[in-house]
Amino acid sequence: MKLTINLLPNEFALKSKEQAKFNLVQTISILAVLVIILLASGVVALNITQNKKISNLESSIKQSEDDIKSFKDKEISLSVLKDRLATINKLSKVPSKQIAAYRFITQLLPGNLFISSLSSDKTGSVILSALVPDYPTLEQTMTVLTDQAAFNTVSKVDVESLSRSKDGVYRLNLKLTMK
């Protein structure tokens, strides 16, 4: 059996314990500094790589923009064409009310009725003056104009005047408001 006796003063033991504690703090602190330095270096390296990538992308975008500029004529033509076609489509899709009104009236009225004047204004209203040779034709005219089928195209029929001359001819003035 071996017996050890510490004959050093108590003060020395405390000093040694304190030194060990300081060594531990020193090691931990240095490690912490190293970790932060490593982290900072890593982030700086990543930033440098990223900046290089951004610079490459910028030059690539610049190249694409230059390419687009070289196609400027094509782009302008296409834009003008597209714009123009939209306007053409808009204008073409609106049928002429006046042509429709003229066709409707000339097809609907009896053949022996003589149209002395017909005018269709910008609103699409039609003013019609006609000479009707006899009463059956007048009746037929009024029938076709007041028929339900006619009201698919016409919204209102106004008889402005109706007169009969000595020779039996009726003079009829009508105003038709088209739909």
């Binding site: 703090v25 982030v43 990543l46 930033n47 951004i54 923009e65 076609l85 808009k90």
Partner: protein, 229 residues
Amino acid sequence: MSDLLTIYNRYRLLIFPVLIGISILLLIIFVVYPQVSGLLKGQSDIANMESRQVTLLAKVKDLDSLSAEDLKSKMKIAVTALPIERDYPGTIGLIQNEVAKNGLELESLQVSQVASIGGQNGYSLNIGIFGPKENFNKLLTSLGKTSQILRVTSIEVSPSRASTNLAVILTLDAFYAPAPNNLGPVEAPVQKLSPDDEKTLQDLAASQPQNTSTDSFSSAPRGRPNPFE
């Protein structure tokens, strides 16, 4: 100096970690934080730039695939149908041609300047024509298929009792549209022609004379075929 060393040796357990902590804090504040925030901002910039690059590359590809000749011919058709400026000679020539083609006589023609027709630039023409009723019906049909967009806005018919001829005063609206001033941002996508646009172009091409030589005054509307040349 020896006093400082004595103080340091006495409080080194406290002073050393505090100094290290301050160094770490300074490193974080002046190096790590700016770099990390720069990195994060850079990531978002890269995402935006990549998306922009994809758009631009697609635009370059689309523009490259367009045939300049095809575009030019389509442009010519569209500009004939809707000139870029008031084209009085072309419109008058076209009307003269349509009236004559349908066997009618053009008795009068008057152009009135109108700045805007239903929000569209245009002008009106009053034309007096004379001829058979059937031919007038044909004219009304052909006016809907002219190479230049024309719209009949009023009709005044005075038939003759002695014959089947009609004296007609027609008001026609003719339109034009100036070229747009700007194209928008460079990354704006290429406006592709829709099937409807292609159909419209086909219809317009069918209504236009195949050979529009410069000396055929009466058959082709005037005006610059391509406003950018």
